[in-house]
Amino acid sequence: MQTIDKDEAELQAEFDRRIAEEQKIEPTDWMPAEYRKNLIRQMSQHAHSEVIGMQPEGNWITRAPSLRRKAVLLSKVQDEGGHGLYLYSATETLGISRSEMIEALQTGKAKYASIFNYPALSWADIGAIGWLVDGAAIVNQISLQRTSYGPYSRAMIRICKEESFHQRQGYEIMYALAHGTEVQRKMAQDAMNRFWWPSLMMFGPHDSDSAHSSKSMNWKIKRESNDTLRQRFVDQSVPQIEALGLEMPDPEIKWNEERGHYDFGEINWEEFYQVINGSGPCNYQRLKHHKAAHEEGEWVREAVRAYRKKQENKKSEAA
């Protein structure tokens, strides 16, 4: 009723005031079309990442080296599926349907985190993914708990709480391998070396080159810049690498007393854009598998519809 009485400029002013006062925007509030669009892009991309991210790890469930490791991995992959659901539901509050989002993913219109286009080649990769990939995601998600859109913020809080074990189980795998036989140690080193750079890429382009960053920061959808979050991840990871006793994956990693941060080498941005734009090692495979799983699951959706129809018929017969 409010919205009928106010013109666009007043609504915009109210929205701007809410953002300035650190208030959350809720689904029934008026919001600029661009804010809504930007959120749909970021949140659906986040949801797709949770779901596509199940593939490289799911691949290792049957090959985990012990029953315990298998149960842990299964539990983690289950969590990711649930997190996809939280995020899809939160995105739906913006007026886009689940099927529209799936369609955008499957036609390549929507992206997902490019890291999942790398293959998980050895068991150590499962350690590196939990430790580095989830570690990077957690740095990002902790920051997003303070995002300006209420449903997104609440989903992030729930996800961070549940994910607290993901990084630790990965590190535990890495620690066991790094302190195991020579072959196991090499496996851990190799996995870390391969996942290090793609993990740094997860934070996106440099602030100066980021297409969506400044708008998102002004709207407080994003609370900290790509480079700030990336630096935080490097700073927390270096002591963890040292505790593993592995060699640094980047020879340029060095403590910078003046900055109070670790310096590190330049990311291969050409690789980043190649993988984002579809030419990574597994892009084709990931989408192909998603489509196949979706199509093969059609009978479940059909059964649900048939059941609903049957219940409705029963009700109308009884009436």
Binding site: E26, S75, G135, R154, Y171, Y175, A243
Partner: protein, 95 residues
């Protein structure tokens, strides 16, 4: 009309932007619109909230606490779902 004939509505209030709606109680009303007004008059008279949801109670499907043991497995045998299950060296234990 006796009150017993009116539908029961459950009332949920969001105390501040950014928080979830929380169940605060119920009331009788003749329509959802009226339930919303009654809830406003009854439950947020001291600025307890910024948003109200009302849902007709009969539309809520609830689990039964008596059946909880067979309905919800507490998963006590799956301690690995908790971060504390993983023992890491002290120097990196803040992970």
């Amino acid at each position: 009309m006796s009150q017993e004939k009116l539908a029961v509505y459950e009332v949920f209030v969001r105390s501040a932007r950014g928080l979830d709606h929380k169940h605060v109680g119920s009331l009788h009303a003749e329509s959802p619109e009226h339930a919303l007004m009654y809830a406003r008059d009854c439950y947020i008279r001291r600025s307890e909230g910024v948003s109200i949801w009302v849902v007709e109670s009969s539309n809520i499907t609830a689990s039964q606490e008596d059946d909880l043991a067979s309905f919800v497995d507490p998963m006590d045998d799956k301690p690995y779902r908790h971060a504390t299950h993983y023992v890491l060296p002290d120097s990196v234990n803040n992970m």
